[in-house]
């Protein structure tokens, strides 16, 4: 699944079939290379749903267990929700200090949340190369084609 297809989708409660909001972003753990939570709504009303409470990501909606799955952003998550850490539009920098463009999409496994690849205008970068995610850049291990 591409993240740009998930963004903007309705978040629907499995128990009530009510729409709780729409997907405004995801929170990614750089160490695990996994989507760990989905951001619902923005601004002060923004809430997050841990990946464990997401029962399905489809082409029409993101289904979550119930409304109680929504909670306040925790430490670390607030950097994503507040916008200091970006996903789409974030700069990708290699550990050799060379820029690889801005992120246009992230491919992830909709079953597990595992990130598969990071796409910039210039390249598709395998998730295995991801080293860290910060407010300045996503740092990836340099490719073989990069000057030493």
């Amino acid at each position: 699944m591409l993240l740009t297809n998930t963004l903007g989708e309705n978040v629907v409660s499995k128990s009530t079939a009510e729409t709780l909001g729409s997907v405004q972003g995801v929170i990614i753990d750089a160490g695990d290379r996994r989507v760990v939570a989905v951001q619902v709504g923005k601004g002060r009303k923004a809430r997050v749903v841990p990946w464990g409470s997401v029962s399905g990501v489809g082409s029409a909606a993101v289904v979550v267990d119930d409304e109680d799955a929504l909670r306040e952003p925790a430490d670390g998550e607030d950097r994503y929700v507040g916008g200091s850490v970006k996903v789409i539009g974030a700069l990708v920098l290699s550990d050799r200090g060379n820029g690889h463009g801005d992120i246009v999409d992230v491919e992830y496994d909709e079953e597990t949340g595992s990130v598969i690849s990071i796409r910039t205008g210039a390249a598709t970068i395998a998730a295995e190369r991801l080293l860290s995610i910060g407010s300045y850049a996503w740092v990836v291990a340099a490719g073989d084609d990069e000057p030493a």
């Binding site: 920098l93 550990d95 050799r96 200090g97 910060g134 030493a148």
Partner: protein
């Protein structure tokens, strides 16, 4: 010279980024190098953003993970620490002997020009050449930079630099072919004891 060549001034203003966190810790203010040793010693730093200004912190070359076109990379924020006494002494010493503005003389007594920038090989941190303004007859094309390779070590007085007269055929006007010129120039020098 297999590695990337950059001008010292290209490094000014680059962000210093932590590989562990993806955070920019500072911006490069100035490049600090030793003319005698022909080596990059480190960087002085500026704070980033709205409250930018000089930082007390310095970054030693040995604490760098990499220098790239777009950023200077450090492993984590421990590389940017309070001013280490040793490095600040080095900074003070080297700033007394800033080669920018110095005249470059050959050992044949010819003046080649005045130093306006240094060329650094980023993998090794070696200063491999200088960019000059000066004798336009040495340039391949008018208006292009005048890049001269330098030996691994050279005499520096504080006002002038002494280079072998044999450097003249290796003067270039483009960084892309300059690495090979440095190799050839250094290869034809008498081996130092």
């Amino acid at each position: 010279m297999s590695g990337l060549l950059l001008r010292g001034t290209d490094l000014n203003g680059l962000p210093v980024v932590s590989i562990a966190a993806g955070e920019a810790l500072a911006d490069v203010k100035d490049v600090v190098y030793s003319a005698e040793r022909g080596a990059l010693l480190g960087f002085t730093l500026n704070k980033r953003g709205f409250f930018s200004g000089p930082m007390k912190h310095v970054l030693a070359y040995g604490d760098l993970a990499a220098i790239g076109r777009d950023a200077v990379m450090v492993t984590d924020d421990s590389a940017v620490t309070d001013e280490a006494a040793a490095l600040s002494a080095v900074v003070a010493e080297s700033s007394e002997r800033d080669v920018i503005g110095n005249d470059v003389l050959t050992d044949g007594g010819k003046r080649l020009g005045r130093v306006i920038d240094v060329v650094v090989e980023v993998t090794s941190g070696d200063v491999v050449g200088y960019e000059l303004t000066g004798d336009e007859t040495l340039q391949g094309h008018a208006g292009r930079p005048l890049l001269i390779p330098i030996p691994a070590t050279l005499a520096v007085s504080g006002t002038a630099l002494m280079v072998p007269a044999s450097v003249e055929p290796f003067i270039r006007d483009d960084l892309s072919g300059f690495g090979a010129a440095v190799d050839e120039f250094r290869g034809q020098l008498p081996q130092e004891a």
